[in-house]
């Protein structure tokens, strides 16, 4: 059983954060929350999302799992204007999701959850540095790095108490230094890892510019990026595996 009403913006934010990594996913319709965990086919980027029942106008669920084509569902949600409410109801018999938006009715065929890639285990990471910054700052570093390279180094210098976003291109280099004055918070520890910009750019697209992004970083370890949406009732954690540093 699943029946819910949710604002179009909240649903779009939730779906966008997952669709940057995968085309299909399982949605867990738990009693207290709507949850998605997915990893991209190459096992490089993972998303763990939860949206509390309280983020919905109304929410009734009993722990079922559905499989959806995210592109399709996003297209439908895209038919709603900002501020519209989206009604969702699962028909258990036909295994279809009925979606209603301001008089528009759409019946979405679901995908067998067993045919979707297994939900990943969350890696067990002991990360030495934690940087809290605004989404817009992270975005600025990523955009600049993308001008010169296809990969990006995230580094914390514990002595300087500063967070660096760096990229080395064939000819040009980019370096963004953010010290504790620029950051919301910094727990400094030695940390330096290299990441693919392809993935980070996609994740960055989903991260709201005004969000506080908690970045956990280690030495050649995956990075964890955590932010909230829907007034703190939605939580997203991205994990991205590093590239091997050749030098």
């Amino acid at each position: 059983m699943f029946k819910a009403i949710v604002s179009a913006d909240t649903l779009k934010d939730a779906l966008d954060s997952v669709s940057v990594l995968v085309d299909e996913c399982k949605i867990r319709l738990n009693e207290e929350e709507f949850a998605i965990r997915a990893v991209d086919p190459a096992n490089v980027g993972m998303v763990d999302l939860s949206l509390a029942a309280a983020a919905f106008e109304s929410y009734e669920a009993d722990g079922g799992v559905i499989g959806v084509n995210l592109g399709r569902l996003e297209d439908i949600a895209g038919m709603a204007n900002s501020g519209d409410l989206i009604h969702l109801e699962l028909n258990e018999e036909t295994r279809k999701l009925h979606i209603q938006i301001d008089g528009l009715s759409y019946t979405l065929a679901l995908i067998d959850p067993d045919s979707i890639r297994q939900e990943p285990d969350i890696p067990d990471l002991d990360l030495s540095a934690e940087i809290v910054l605004e989404g817009s700052q992270l975005s600025r570093g990523i955009t600049a790095a993308d001008m010169v390279s296809d990969h990006i180094a995230l580094r914390v210098d514990p002595d300087e108490e500063a967070f660096y976003i760096e990229a080395e291109g064939d000819t040009d280099d980019v370096d963004l230094k953010l010290d504790s004055d620029d950051l919301i918070d910094l727990t400094a520890g030695a940390a330096d890892s290299l990441f693919s910009l392809d993935y980070l750019k996609d994740m960055n697209k989903a991260i709201p510019k005004a969000a506080e992004v908690t970045t956990e970083l280690g030495e050649e370890f995956p990075v964890k990026l955590h932010y909230e949406f829907a007034e703190g009732l939605g939580q997203v954690t991205y994990m991205l595996a590093p590239r091997i540093q050749s030098e």
């Binding site: 190459a42 096992n43 490089v44 980027g45 990943p120 067990d124 990471l125 595996a241 590239r243």
Partner: protein
């Protein structure tokens, strides 16, 4: 024994890439290259892979396009090349195998041409693993730091041997003959679309309640790369006869038939020339700039044709997966 005969006996199952990540695969290089050559030649304008002096190196495109699939699934390929051709040239048995192989390849080409829009062009051409192709493939693999070894004779037999002694987790070949060389686990269609197909020896034997030696005998009754087979005996009858009479010679005697060189052919499957003289380095550290230069400058292949493949190789070898931490 034709491929379809052996296929009907083999224990086959779909094998998701997730199950084989981190494995080593001894790839029958001749078999793998041949498939890539036919596809490349079929779908690519020959100007792209022909140098100014007319040398064709379609293999270089094939290698660059085929390798990423291994790396992206965290598989280490070990390419096993056929060797010792000159030594065996005078050998009657080997000669027959070569003739049969060539005939099969011509047939495969004819079939490929049958459904191709470029049938006319292809049928006028023959695809051969020339000396240049063999050499440039080795050179390119070396630059990409992909392990390869030269078998004393059949690459297929050497790959099966490495699988048997545990130096390779799988054999990579489209050929069902790896069963006859005793390979425990063969992956087919490794670099095709979709998931590979796993072919296993022990379940094959269990299914028909025969021994490995008996499987080879069944194959010989049906016909192998080395012999014609007895007319009227298919795989099912073969299994029945071998079970009834114990082995090949029992069946031949009972039916008053004869297979020339039967002893020697059996030995070729049971105990083919193989070597232990190789080293496998599974840490792959390709020199991509040198590989690019080799393919596009030295051998004048259009950069556009191979760039995507090189990019895929690059990102696959430098990008780690999250599973390393879970």
């Amino acid at each position: 024994m034709g491929n379809s005969d052996l296929r009907s006996l083999a224990a086959l199952s779909e094998c998701p890439f997730a199950d084989i990540e981190g494995s080593t695969v001894a790839v029958d290089a001749h078999n793998w290259l041949y498939r890539y050559l036919t596809t490349t030649v079929k779908w690519t304008d020959d100007a792209i892979y022909t140098t100014d002096d007319g040398t064709e190196v379609a293999n270089l495109i094939g290698v660059v396009q085929g390798l990423p699939k291994f790396f992206e699934h965290d598989l280490t390929p070990i390419f096993v090349f056929d060797g010792g051709v000159t030594e065996l040239k005078d050998d009657e048995v080997e000669k027959r195998r070569e003739q049969r192989e060539q005939a099969e390849e011509r047939l495969a080409e004819a079939e490929a041409a049958g459904d191709s829009i470029e049938a006319a062009r292809l049928s006028a051409r023959t695809v051969q693993l020339t000396e240049t192709i063999q050499e440039t493939t080795r050179d390119l693999l070396a630059l990409l730091d992909v392990p390869y070894i030269d078998a004393p004779a059949e690459g297929e037999a050497q790959a099966a041997y490495m699988n048997k002694i545990g130096d390779a987790d799988y054999v990579g070949s489209e050929d069902y003959d790896t069963l006859l060389f005793g390979a425990p686990s063969t992956l087919r269609e490794l670099t095709s679309k979709g998931h590979p197909e796993l072919m296993e020896l022990q379940p094959t034997l269990d299914e028909h309640e025969i021994t490995y030696e008996q499987l080879v005998d069944v194959a010989m009754l049906c016909g192998t790369d080395f012999n014609e087979g007895i007319s009227g005996i298919g795989p099912k009858t073969g299994v029945k006869l071998i079970t009834e009479h114990g082995d090949l010679f029992g069946v031949l005697e009972a039916r008053g038939e004869h297979i020339e060189f039967a002893d020697r052919i059996r030995e070729l499957f049971f105990d083919p020339p193989v070597t232990d003289d190789y080293e496998i380095e599974s840490d792959i550290d390709p020199d991509l700039d040198a590989a690019r230069a080799y393919v596009t400058e030295e051998w004048e292949v259009d950069a556009d044709e191979v760039e995507r493949g090189f990019e895929r190789i690059e990102s696959a070898v430098v990008q780690t997966g999250l599973d390393r931490w879970s």
